[in-house]
């Protein structure tokens, strides 16, 4: 399975298994070692607390020279994540550096859940509400978390 898989990916995978990041789980697919099934727990104190969010992550051929592609699969109400689960995060675009890793990317995504940034929105309607009526936006985010992102 791992034939031709860059050593760096193997090494990252081993470390993800051996020393998992708290609140984050990333598991390679059984048929494609470049495709990871990811679960990120909603950070404490955020409207996403208590939720477990499923994401998919793919390491393109050029990785680590180009960024992994990551997307939320679980519905989430967040100004920087759109309806399709796409994430607005600079390190996934022009701020990518090969010194970043799967674990640092997922940590950044976890941090984004703790610190939504409605001034740099991807989901415009969400961002708008987040700006004009933050408490209502947070209420909806909580509700979505309860409705869609429960682990059991």
């Amino acid at each position: 399975m791992a034939a031709g898989l860059p050593r760096r990916i193997i090494k990252e995978t081993q470390r993800l298994m051996a020393e998992p990041v708290p609140g984050i789980s990333a598991v390679p697919d059984e048929t494609n070692a470049r495709y990871f099934h990811v679960v990120v727990a909603g950070p404490e104190g955020s409207p996403f607390e208590g939720g477990v969010f499923k994401l998919e992550l793919f390491l393109p051929e050029e990785y680590p020279m180009s960024a992994p592609k990551v997307r939320f699969m679980t519905k989430i109400y967040h100004p920087n994540i759109d309806k399709l689960g796409r994430i607005c995060l600079d390190i996934l675009k022009d701020k990518w550096s090969p010194a970043l890793q799967i674990r640092t990317v997922l940590l950044s995504i976890q941090a984004l859940l703790s610190a939504p940034n409605p001034d740099d929105p991807l989901a415009n309607d969400v961002a708008e509400l987040w700006k004009v009526n933050e408490s209502e936006a947070i209420r909806i985010a909580r509700e979505w978390t309860r409705t869609y992102a429960m682990g059991n």
């Binding site: 760096r8 048929t31 090969p98």
Partner: protein, 376 residues
């Protein structure tokens, strides 16, 4: 107390006399010295080029010093790994005990310097390949004291150059054009030396340790258990309508004139995405299917090689899936959708195998399209 202050001042003055301006004195209220900060490098007879590691040593002096031990902090270690730092900490504590009641600052600096001199090879892993430096590896130090295998850094610089070239080829509206990029250190984003160039760096051999890693075991029981747990979670959330339905969302989008290319990595344009979620395609548990995946097509130039279950084959596999009549197979697993980009390329090329150019093309182009889509 006053006597102690005087002793400290005297010790620091002596230190400054020896080390000149390498020592920065930290002062508390009223100009009382509370500590010193020194950037320590290995002893290399002043040959800066031979100094491959460094660390900032901060010594905080309690008011009772020298009758109480100072505390030390090691900041901004470069090329020094945790084991060495721990060793320095241990030896420093020991030295402090031995010198209780006497000046110890210079001794502490010596402890750090001796350790750096003994470990004057970057003992951290290369941030690009994540492997350590062996004695025979060629490595490069940036001016910000970060280390990379020369080969790895060469690949990085070559990639940056390719991206920049691709950007130039695709003229963008002025408001989108980015400033010409100065090459940045992959770790700290400080500018890196202009004299570093990919041609020279790529002459170095690839990192040696890369050759001796354990193989990754796909059938590891822990891994399989985790995969099953993930699959269960997916199904559970899917049942409750918690999983984003790309097909449905696509229909909500009325931006048909704006292709949202951002998504290409996961399945090309939204139109492509739709084809992934055909009603009868087994999308429920994309990765839990017993259906065999199409074999990868041979790459151009290695046509004679037997198809192998190479994981890199995903993309080639996609090419197969994308060939006429094969679209539905793409619903087979989640991972498959990820490379529809390839399928698109295939269709564009008349259903043939994408040429090498397409396959290994600079990633810059896709990144560009992504940022475009973001503006939509």
């Amino acid at each position: 107390m006053a006597a102690s202050n005087e002793a400290i001042t005297e010790e620091i003055e002596a230190l400054q006399a020896i080390m000149l301006d390498e020592v920065m004195v930290l002062q508390g209220d009223g100009g009382v010295p509370t500590g010193v900060e020194v950037v320590v490098v290995p002893a290399t007879a002043q040959n800066v080029k031979e100094q491959h590691v460094r660390v900032t040593l901060v010594i905080s002096l309690p008011p009772e010093y020298p009758d109480a031990s100072p505390s030390i902090t090691l900041r901004n270690p470069r090329g020094v790994d945790d084991d060495v730092l721990e060793k320095i900490h241990q030896e420093s504590r020991q030295r402090c005990e031995e010198y209780l009641g006497c000046p110890v600052i210079y001794e502490l600096i010596e402890v750090v310097r001796d350790n750096l001199t003994a470990n004057n090879t970057p003992s951290c892993p290369c941030a690009i390949c994540l492997y350590h430096f062996t004695d025979t590896d060629t490595f490069t130090k940036t001016q910000c004291f970060h280390y990379f295998h020369s080969y790895c850094l060469g690949r990085y610089i070559a990639n940056c150059e390719e991206e920049a070239a691709a950007e130039e080829e695709q003229p963008q509206p002025a408001w989108m054009a980015r400033e010409k990029k100065q090459l940045m250190c992959p770790v700290c984003r400080d500018p890196i030396q202009k004299e570093l160039n990919s041609e020279d760096l790529l002459l170095a051999a690839p990192p040696e340790e890369e050759e001796n890693t354990m193989e990754f075991r796909a059938d590891d029981p822990t891994l399989v258990a985790l995969q099953q747990k993930m699959a269960q979670l997916y199904l559970k959330q899917k049942e409750k309508g918690g999983i984003i339905d790309l097909e449905e969302e696509k229909n909500k989008f009325l931006l048909s004139s704006n292709r949202v290319d951002f998504y290409e990595g996961f399945g090309g344009s939204l139109e492509e995405e739709a084809s992934l979620s055909l009603p009868d395609s087994p999308v429920e548990a994309p990765w839990r299917t017993s259906r065999p995946l199409p074999l990868p097509l041979p790459l151009p130039g290695e046509a004679a090689a037997p198809p192998s279950p190479d994981t890199r084959g995903t993309r080639h596999r996609e090419a197969t899936a994308g060939s006429p009549g094969g679209t539905q197979t793409m619903g087979v697993m989640g991972g498959t959708g990820l490379a529809t980009e390839e399928a698109e390329a295939t269709v564009g090329a008349g259903g043939g195998v994408p040429d090498g150019e397409e396959r290994t093309g600079p990633p810059g182009s896709s990144l560009n399209t992504k940022s475009t889509a973001l503006q939509v």
